[in-house]
Amino acid sequence: MAEILGENHILEQEFLYFSRVLSGQCHELANALNIARELCGLHEDTLPRAREGHADAVEKLGSLAHRMQTQIDRSNAIVRTLSRFAHTAEGTRLACDVREILERALFFAARQVRLRQAELQAVMPAGDVQQVECNPFLLQQAIHAGIELLLEGIGQSRRITAALKPDTAGAVVTLASADAFECNDAAPGLLAEITAMVQAAGGEVRETPECSGRLEFFIPCCRRGATAANSELGIPKGTGGGCDVS
């Protein structure tokens, strides 16, 4: 019974994460579309003067087209990222591009960070990072939960850093607040949940200094088996939520 309850809790948390991502990104998409709509309105407002040959109005039409393009690109980025994310909910451990998983998790967390008046800085390695073997959905969820935990304890710095470092045996994702704080005081029980998520994803929380405001997730590199598993699942390269088959 306890196992069933535990499993239900995990499923509930996964569903909640999925819903939050969807709701936040729908809002972001709506914002972009609303801006595009107003820009179209401004275009209509400007058109009569441009037709009369006023140089400033003609110039403005050009600038409006550029601004509309920006919002279209923003919308496309949201749709593309959501689509890739949807493919990660298959609950399988795969050979994955950890950089892409982290970037996607940060993309989704950005709205929440902004609403909490904080700043999220990503530090990515310049070179390649070898593929890791993990459940990409759970890893994204753990990264998101880690950021939530740091937001709970964040102090005056209002700054969170997310870093990816290659490791001989895999990759390390570090989430750190510029302010030191006691994780369990900031969000009781969340650290234990994050630890369980990272383990279920196929990694481990390497370092959990309770009062440092810092989390470190280790994700092991891809074994041949995971790559083969991707092929068996029929996941072509470049799909499967950013999990490429090498």
């Binding site: 809002h27 609303n34 107003e38 609403l115 909490r116």
Partner: protein, 138 residues
């Protein structure tokens, strides 16, 4: 008659700037604020006929901003313009004193009408307050 003076409060800078430009082109005097706090501060130094307020914003959200705006000027006509209009939001905002709840995207003509109606109401309420004060003193 002077132009309607309106304050737009929204953290989506591009949205606010474009909307402000469209309203100005229609003869309104428009000021913008990119946070609830900035909006509240602006409303304390300038008299606006209407405030158009977003709901989801960093820091002071729409509901808190609405409370703060009306605490300073109870007759202020606040129109909530939101992409997150739910029945609960609408009920909360109306209970707190918002005069209109509009869902994004809103047609510019509708928004103009609501702002103009707000100005008329503002004038009537302010006159009513003065009349009551005069009655109390005589």
């Amino acid at each position: 008659m002077s132009a309607d003076r309106v304050l737009l409060i929204d953290d989506e800078m591009e949205y606010v700037e474009v909307l402000a430009e469209r309203l100005r082109a229609r003869g309104l005097e428009v000021e913008v604020a990119f946070s609830g706090m900035e909006g509240v501060k602006k409303s304390q130094v300038t008299k606006f006929d209407a405030v158009v307020l977003d709901f989801a914003m960093p820091g002071m959200d729409g509901i808190h901003a609405l409370k703060a705006l009306l605490a300073g000027t109870p007759e202020l006509q606040v129109i909530l313009l939101t992409g997150q209009a739910t029945i609960k939001t609408a009920m909360d905002a109306t209970r707190l004193g918002a005069v209109e709840i509009l869902e994004k995207p809103t047609d510019i003509t509708t928004l103009m009408e609501k702002i103009h109606e707000a100005r008329t109401r503002y004038g009537a309420r302010a006159a009513e307050r003065v009349r009551r004060q005069l009655q109390e003193t005589t």
